[in-house]
Symmetry: D2
Subunit: 436 residues, 4 copies
């Protein structure tokens, strides 16, 4: 609504617009904003959207400098609170410490399209932030508000199907980030009766998915992504009951929501919804890439020794060096494929992937955000599958290896605690891959 095309404008005009814009912001957080603020907020969004990228940047700068808590005041009220610990002083301190910028954003949000506009604004801000770290506090305030407003309790879980609006499906095609959707026919296969696609929506953006997950309903835990993505494959007949729901892709759609973590809630709500529809499902798992595996291998970092017997450690190190030797010389895609399919090395590769993911190496959690995400959610490292993704991307990330994380609702809290202790919940088969 507010993203109008801007006509050619002179620098001088832009300066004037910016100046008015900032003073409108000041007026909006004042007394007037409470009562006649809708008009002011609308004006702010219109002026802002017409700014050039350069002037947007300058606008962010201006609100980074101008809408901060008063340092002297905060110091004083913090001191008073520390002395008295009286509720009134606490309330005053909390009020004084809150950046007026937050109230500014809340008042902009009152306009019907305000929330969508603020999301777009943060998208621009995140780009400006790369070059200008002084904007960090502005971003922090926006992130804080968005996290509060996009609270999972306010989101709607919707199943996306072939009966969903084309305009919505188009966004799914565009935002799929794990296994690219190659046009409408590819999408359609992913919406057949043995597949599911769920997304979170916020009431203020009813037509825009925030994050979505793709699920395959199967008879057993999947070992390879290839049949799941085969658009020519026939849907599993629904006559035999499904036993496994495999999350094989999860993608964010809103760059403006960076840092607002919804994936964990999405997976768990989808698992609950599927459990209701298919009481016979007994496993909720993923089939996940290991994006950091090859990068870690090439970094040539020895395994940590904690928790491993010397014998095991030595054997792992041996394997690591052996595979590394081969991996260093890879260049064409076919080289990667050859290594991934080398029968003599396969056991070593699988064993290394298991050790990498179970965090024997201290740096792997940093190296592999996917592992970090699922383990933090309380999932368990269940099975390592080699030759599971022979696409160029899969080969170059992890020599074709993929992993199943298992979401077992009865052990999710315990697994999460294990993760917090710096360890990794894993199945016996994965432990065996490391230790034998």
């Amino acid at each position: 609504m507010f993203e109008r095309f801007r006509s050619g404008r002179s620098q001088g005009q832009d300066e004037r617009v910016l100046k008015t814009l900032v003073s409108s912001c000041e007026r909006l957080i004042g007394e007037a904003g409470e009562s006649v603020g809708l008009g002011i907020a609308r004006q702010i969004l219109q002026s802002y959207s017409a700014l050039s990228p350069e002037f947007k940047n300058r606008f962010f700068k201006a609100i980074a400098e101008g809408f901060n808590p008063d340092p002297g005041l905060v110091e004083q009220s913090a001191k008073r609170y520390a002395q008295s610990q009286d509720p009134k002083d606490l309330i005053q301190m909390v009020a004084d410490a809150q950046p007026p910028r937050q109230e500014l954003f809340r008042r902009i949000n009152r306009v019907p399209e305000g929330c969508a506009a603020l999301l777009k604004m943060r998208e621009s801000l995140l780009q400006s932030l790369v070059k200008d770290p002084s904007l960090k506090a502005v971003d922090s305030d926006l992130e804080h508000l968005l996290a509060s407003w996009f609270n999972p309790g306010f989101l709607r879980l919707d199943q996306i199907s072939w009966e969903s609006p084309a305009g919505l499906l188009e966004q799914i095609i565009q935002h799929e980030a794990v296994h690219e959707i190659d046009g409408w026919a590819d999408l359609r296969r992913r919406l057949e009766p043995d597949r599911r696609l769920f997304a979170f929506f916020h009431p203020a953006l009813p037509k825009e998915p925030l994050i979505f997950v793709e699920v395959a309903l199967l008879r057993e835990m999947p070992q390879s992504i290839t049949p799941l993505l085969d658009r020519k494959s026939k849907p599993e007949p629904p006559t035999k009951p499904y036993k496994v729901a495999a999350f094989y892709s999860i993608s964010n759609c809103q760059p403006g929501l960076k840092g607002v973590h919804l994936g964990n809630f999405l997976i768990k709500q989808v698992a609950e919804a599927l459990k209701l529809e298919f009481p016979e499902i007994r496993q909720f798992c993923t089939l996940s890439p290991i994006p950091g595996f090859l990068r870690w291998l090439l970094a040539n970092e020895p395994f940590a020794r904690d928790g491993l017997t010397e014998k095991v450690w030595l054997r792992l190190e041996d394997r690591r060096r052996q595979v590394l030797a081969r991996a260093q010389s890879l260049s064409a895609a076919s080289d990667f494929a050859r290594l991934a399919q080398d029968e003599t090395l396969r056991p070593s590769i699988v064993s290394l992937a298991a050790a990498f993911l179970s965090n024997v190496s201290s740096s792997s959690r940093q190296a592999d955000p996917v592992a970090r995400f699922h383990l933090h959610n309380g999932a368990r490292l269940e099975r390592i599958n080699d030759q599971a993704d022979l696409s160029v991307k899969g080969l170059k990330q992890s020599l074709g290896v993929m992993v199943n994380y298992l979401y077992d609702l009865s052990t999710i809290e315990e697994n999460h605690d294990i993760f917090l202790r710096g360890e990794t919940a894993c199945s016996k088969s994965v432990a065996d891959l490391i230790n034998r």
Copy 2:
């Protein structure tokens, strides 16, 4: 969902439940809460709802004492920020100053029914607060969050009609606070084609109105509430265009939203909606009670002299004493009616009401919240109507006098500024009532 009947429980059991509840709250705001918090939050809401009022009170007490910002830490980080004014220090200070209680409520809110449960919780809290001011900081945190979540940008304006669900209409009957709705037939008249009823809804409570306003579509500005409420009256035929939309009642439905001001936004959005449907409407006004008029009169406080010529002031004081003399002796409803209809006093009563509302008396703004509300919104004091509400309530509040406030979108900002200066925007006719 969480409001289950509690079975008889011993004091000891209640103590244990409370203890577990508080430690669940601690766990919820910790690391675990991020990942496996839905289960904890559900547990908290269930345990809370089963508490007796006494133990609810003790629960509030516990979170008033235990989930505060660390005073030493805040003082330190406030000092650091005051010295450096660095964004990083600012971010840290803001984080340290925020009561952990807020995060607690945000995480409880993640549960599907969480928001509704928090509203109910605040309703109880407000009752506890009356006796125990130490809970003020807890209430302040909840109010802060609710104000952010029930931001007008997130609300849906809906017209309520005879086609609305009976369960919803029942709530309207129950919550109408200005002119009581006497059963379904009375309500039905208020939903005929020459009447409108609009309400705000929040997506998290889709079946519960938050606040609603009743509007009459008329040919001219109304002088009396009686014909508007006459359930036997025939709807104005829609063949002749309506000229005036009169807001004749506005009521809140959610005690838990105390302090979250939505009335101003509701009136303005309704005016915009009606403007679209009836472009020929040229006046948006109210027909409002003056709840503080008679109370003020009986308080026997002289008019302030500011802004009045001596002659005017003396005349007003004369009238005041004259009416006061009669008013002091009132007791039966018929006494009030006789005074309200006394032809010799009517001009004085109307003149006094005008002077009272236009804030000649410094205390009237406090005395009359309705006037305060509309004038702060930017409305103008348009016309004083005597014998406008001859119900017992109307006579005892204001000797039957009512007032029209005018919402003129083109002067709303200006009127609001006048109000902030401590003055009152009023029509020439009202000014004349005072000065002549």
Copy 3:
């Protein structure tokens, strides 16, 4: 839409309107009607709706005389078909035999509000028909079309609840014909969780129920209507499973649909819907009045002897004369109550009701449309309950006796066949009441 108020018009004007109306009807079924008929049809409905009752009557007369099949033509084409039995001749004969009136109504129906208007038109026609049997053929054509259009396959079964639009609930209150609904509070009890109300709707009249049925969910087959209608009764807690669904009231809402039988389909679709929601329900039954019982008794008609042994017949006749002797002198409501509660006569009354309903008397099917309806549907006469409806209506219809008909899906076809043979499917307990 077309039911406008007519202004005072002279007889002469009405004559002219009628003449134009009839010639518009002729134009509508001609060639022009196919192509530009919407305008003509609209015109017809407007003119018709403005006619006085007298002229509506004359309009019906005109289309009764003027839109018939050509007798000579039909005779000829029937003869040709009889000779050749050729498909072409058959098609021609069918076309010639069809009254042009049917096509007239079909073309009127093309207008958006046409179907609703035709329903209203038939309502008026049915009133005219009482005095003027020459309109029978018009009615027969309309009934034929409405039966085709209101085919159960086109109807939507909806549950009516307290969340339904008030305007719809108001219609339910108005149309309940068996056990009057005494205002909103009474209705509300009938919509609590242990009650159900279902209605059929047609897409062309989305806001108007066609027929509805009220159901009580119970632990056992009900013996008396009193507790079911008690608006103060507490809903059965849903914790214990319901065992019985009792249809206790079924009412038509559209007089214009007379002769279009939907009740049978409604009951069976509701039973299927309830079976899905409550798999544990094991009995679908009614609690029905016996509207013809006392009337039949007072008519003093001996029982037929077919199918009864002489001994049984003699005993029944004895009882009949005994009760009849008491019943003839009844006048005040209290007299009826006394008889209904007379302990010495109760066994006889119950036995007579059983014999009456099981059609021992040849005239009872005519006498009791409720029995006829359920038995024709394939239900079984299950149990006779005395002192089951002590309302004045219940006492005057059947001395307070009510009956349970049982809908057992597995025997419904068989029961229906029994009914067609002129017999009555009944339970052993009912048979015993007759024979012992």
Copy 4:
């Protein structure tokens, strides 16, 4: 629902299934069908759907032979009616003349999916009919019922947009019969703000469009289809008002509705809907192909002389022979293009097309169903456009010539009457093309 895959079955089994099927049909139209018919109807649809094409054919044959009116009875009752002309005899005659087959279909239709199944059944029947004309009477009965059920008054006009379900859009792509839709991007252009797509739906098939029309919103009457179909074209900015709505494609989606004419109603309802949305539109027209033009030309049939002066006739004949001479030798697509663009012949081609369409030749109405359709609807022949469709299809049908028919609501009845008289409503410019 009933379209299950049939397993391999022997001929003998099929015979038995067919026999049971036919006897179920007999049972369904009997007494039992009224009361317990839902189960029988379901059974019929299941058995039917499992039949092989050959046995479907035999099923049609069976109901063609077995469910006819009784010839003797009809003859008798027709005679009686002819003599008495009494309403009772009329009603009896109408009942006797109606094929029991119709009641059979009506009772099958009572099942929830019945209507969809009957549509599919007629699709098969129409195929069988090609080889076996004895099925004509069955088809006539089905068509009669479908025409009554798919009465425009029961249809819903819906706008199809990019927000419509993908499954629905897929059907639009598949059924577009005039200007093929080449994938999703092509469809998307046809749903931009300056295009409209409307379809009729029936409540019993809520997800299946029956017929749809595509409209372009323009500044002036279009001369060529090329820019309208250009998927790279930018939507007309909505700032300048649209003046013309051009229907450029209309397609049926349901083969089973053959003979049920909905196009006329669709065009007029769409025109009304657009008139409401864009009051500034002043012309509703088409841009239509002339599918019969070249075929007619090559048939070498002289123009009729009626209504033409000798001079005009001679000149038209000259032109016809001249163009015919060139047209006879055409073979490659490029030959057609060359002729269509031959500057010396263009005036003759346009003139011949005008004369062809305005029915100077007596056979053109048969030859050009598109002209017949629009002229019968009451449209006017407005403008002939050469080089308007240079696609291979367009060249081979009509040497690239297209025509605008004008829908002027004020003259539509008159134009229709002109058409019925065997003449053609045409604009002055078209008349001039013929006469000059």
